[in-house]
């Protein structure tokens, strides 16, 4: 029995530790639900903003004031949903439901900070101000539309890198800033990857959310691989040993 036990334990158990950690850090469904929520709200705000613009152009005052009212409500709702504990709880419950069959696992927080340092939160605020400033520069034609995404990348890439570092996310998360930065470089090199001016907003929306979604999907696929690896290493010879141990216990009684 002892020899069997030694054989079952002969592979390095630290591999189990590595794949458990990798799996826990690559579970990205929580981020996917957050992503869906943000994209949905931004689409609603975008639609109302478009309606407001049309009402203003056509001189339809009742529709203009109504849409401005709904625009403010939608924006306030967006702010509330971003900071509300209720949203976090709903997203968390959805995540638990999604991973129901696999079970619940909370990533090791030794490598991550539960609360972000104040200077990082300040940096996020500064990044938002920077983007509003960029939008103003474009409105007053001090900045070409073509450079909207590279202008954004200049602030977003380092902030994303800092956030990923502090949250201790897996390799998949780095895909987002890397692709966003590469996109900016390609645009500066005048590679034709931008949308026509009629769809100028997509030049920023598609890279921000598209690359984010790619990172989340890569993370999810990698979590499947990590789980498969974890199961195969952990189960190696275990069933046979457990049956044998059970038989021996039964014999002894």
């Amino acid at each position: 029995m002892s020899n069997r036990r030694n054989n079952v334990n002969s592979s390095d158990p630290r591999e189990i530790l590595y794949w458990t950690r990798t799996y826990a850090r690559s579970r990205t469904i929580y981020f996917l639900f957050q992503w869906c929520l943000i994209v949905l709200i931004i689409c609603v705000i975008g639609l109302i903003a478009n309606l407001t613009q049309q009402a203003y152009i056509n001189g339809n005052k009742p529709l203009f004031y109504t849409s401005v009212f709904f625009l403010v409500v939608a924006f306030l709702f967006f702010v509330w949903i971003s900071i509300s504990r209720w949203t976090a709880e709903i997203v968390w419950q959805l995540t638990i439901w999604f991973y129901g069959r696999e079970g619940y696992v909370l990533p090791d927080d030794k490598h991550q900070s539960k609360t972000l340092p104040r200077w990082v939160i300040a940096l996020i605020g500064l990044m938002l101000v920077y983007h509003i400033f960029g939008a103003l520069l474009i409105s007053f034609r001090y900045l070409s539309l073509q450079y909207l995404q590279p202008f954004s990348a200049l602030a977003l890439v380092p902030v994303l890198c800092i956030l990923i570092f502090y949250q201790g996310l897996g390799f998949w998360a780095w895909i987002w800033p890397v692709l966003y930065g590469l996109h900016a470089i390609l645009l500066i090199c005048k590679i034709p990857i931008s949308f026509p001016s009629r769809w100028y907003l997509l030049n920023i929306m598609v890279p921000v959310f598209g690359y984010g979604l790619i990172a989340i999907i890569v993370g999810h696929i990698y979590s499947r691989y990590a789980l498969w690896k974890l199961k195969s290493i952990s189960r190696q010879g275990l069933e046979e040993f457990e049956n044998l141990a059970h038989d021996e216990e039964t014999d002894n009684t």
Binding site: T20, A24, G103, S234
Partner: protein
Amino acid sequence: MSELDRIIHEPARLRILTILAGVEASDFNFLLNTLGLTKGNLSSHMDKLEKAGYVKVEKSFNGRIPHTEFQITEKGRDALENYWKELDRIRNLNPPVENE
């Protein structure tokens, strides 16, 4: 010469403790699915680990569904660390015979 910890040297318990060392916490379902043990076997191993003070158990309810969460304790982490050290020492004493 110190001996290997008998509680951890059991393959299923070694795996359970190693999994718990890689995460902040996990539930019964996760361990069950990952290790492919029966509910009875897993419960019995968790009992032994809890009695040894290597894991902390927290029972709660998710709505009406009972939820059991496990966490490795500092004592469990130290025991696992010592077990690995001891295992490495034994392996170095008896290097594997290479096939010719």
